[in-house]
């Protein structure tokens, strides 16, 4: 079996992983990025909307353009960064400190890193309803991949489940791609996403049905429609079940961290609803309870890509510092301030509480 050695292994080539790789390589470390997909950039490559926030965090720039900027930064690190695409990390062996990975579907290899940054991202949540497994029920991210990355028409008429930012943005993007959106259902009594995103789809005439949910998908082998119903305060049905004709049911009901590798590495984990699942405990430098492993991005709690990129910078610096590279403490301080600014205000309230709950003052050495 092929074996690779590296100073820092970065698991995942999305916004967090690329930022971690850039900062670790910038400090002088050799970095190997392992990415399961066929391209770098993670979910940024399918974000065709402009980002919010501050200028430092690329506000006003479209997601796929941010991916390009990060890829260029990585390219400028020259031979200090090696990239493996279509390669999926499959395990971490604690005793030997070895990571196993699969290239494509056939070749297995061993990676022996000195330090690891896990930036494995998140995966779509599924909600239970009869027939939710038949073709035509797609995750919102998958619909974005189809239409925004590969230019494939995802369907003719889509029912969107969830009026958070992803549900609203993807609905708008579907209409940009010429697809009809039948309605957006939201079980809660109010819209979860930003007002501007909701206003855009409402102006185009798409109904946002609050206190509504899906009862079942209709279809023998593929989706041909959906039964929907209205909910009361206790989430019980009120009124008649209605039928919506559609060939696609798009689930935008949230994400959960892809945390298997962290569990396997024995990192101390905690269930934090505000961060959308089990997340690793971390110190301020994004180090886990395993002294060789750092984390960044959605795997540490579901948040925006802007935060993932800063966490990546911090984790990359942390790993490089542990390897003995010269890192000034002020460099961390600058990133902490930027993270604090991003999470300020009412919108950041839950993230702030979640992160506080997941952060430890420090790790006892050799614990």
């Amino acid at each position: 079996m092929r074996e690779l050695k590296t100073d820092v292994l970065v698991v995942g080539g999305g916004p967090a992983g690329l930022s971690a790789a850039a900062s670790a390589a910038g400090a002088g470390a050799n970095v190997l990025i392992v990415e399961g997909d066929l391209h770098l950039g993670g979910q940024l490559v399918k974000q065709s909307h402009k980002f919010f926030g501050s200028k430092e965090e690329y506000a006003g720039t479209r997601g796929f353009e941010i991916a390009k900027i990060l890829r260029e930064e990585i390219a400028n690190c020259e031979d200090r960064v090696e990239i493996m695409l279509n390669t999926t990390v499959s395990g971490y062996y604690r005793e030997e400190r070895v990571v196993t990975a699969m290239v494509g579907e056939e070749e297995y290899l061993r990676i022996v890193p000195k330090k690891i940054v896990i930036a494995s991202g998140a995966q779509e949540r599924l909600i239970p309803f009869p027939n939710n497994d038949i073709p035509g029920v797609y995750g919102a991210g998958a619909v974005q991949t189809l239409m925004n990355v590969y230019g494939v028409v995802p369907g003719k008429r889509v029912l969107m489940i969830g009026a958070g930012n992803i549900g609203l943005i993807v609905s708008y993007q579907l209409m940009q791609a010429g697809v009809e959106v039948a309605a957006i259902l939201e079980a809660m009594p109010r819209i979860g996403g930003y007002w501007v995103h909701a206003a855009k789809v409402r102006r185009l005439g798409v109904p946002i049905l609050l206190r509504h949910s899906i009862k079942r998908a209709i279809g023998e082998t593929v989706v041909t429609g959906a039964e929907i119903y209205e909910l009361d305060d206790k989430f019980n049905q009120v009124g008649e079940t209605e039928v919506v004709e559609c060939d696609t049911i798009c689930l935008a009901v949230g994400l959960t961290p892809t945390n298997e590798l962290l569990w396997q590495a024995g990192c101390r984990m905690k269930y934090i609803p505000f961060l959308c699942g089990h997340v690793p405990l971390r110190d301020k430098c994004m180090r886990t309870s395993n002294e060789d492993i750092w984390m960044a991005g959605d795997v540490s709690g579901i948040e925006e890509a802007s935060a993932a990129m800063i966490e990546g910078r911090i984790a990359g610096l942390g790993a490089a510092k542990a390897l003995g590279f010269n890192i000034q403490d002020e460099m961390f301080g600058e990133y902490w301030v930027r993270l604090k600014n991003l999470r300020a205000g009412e919108v950041g309230e839950k993230i702030r509480a979640g992160v506080l709950n997941a952060t430890v003052d420090g790790w006892e050495e050799n614990a």
Binding site: M147, V153, V222
Partner: protein
């Protein structure tokens, strides 16, 4: 292929258009793009049937994490078609059940 025409924000650049085979039919797709996308563009929705309940499954997460799009590709079962690049002349088949890997006597005695 059912592709998006005249997008207001995005320009799509595709690789070379090539032919591949799906369950005995010849289809067109773009080299290097995931197999699952090419199938979807050709109107294919069912990618496999599950082992126990015989339920149809297709595209779902598109990032290689959910196993919904497993198919038999060039004789190899359980291939994640959403992250496996399409190649000229590839033979893609609907997967029924768990799929089978044929072992030659040589390989069987080594393992």
């Amino acid at each position: 292929m059912d592709l998006i025409d005249g997008h207001p924000v995005l320009d799509f650049s595709h690789g070379e258009k090539i032919s591949f085979n799906f369950d005995g039919k010849t289809m067109e797709g773009f080299e290097g793009e995931p197999i699952a996308m090419a199938l979807h563009a050709n109107g294919v929705r069912v990618y496999r049937n599950t082992p126990e309940m015989k339920r149809p499954r297709g595209f779902f997460c598109a990032i290689g994490k959910c196993s919904s799009c497993f198919m038999v590709v060039d004789g190899v079962p359980n291939v994640r078609t959403c992250v496996t690049p399409l190649k000229r002349g590839m033979k893609v088949e609907t997967q029924n059940g768990r799929g089978r890997v044929e072992l030659s006597c040589d390989e069987a005695s080594r393992s």
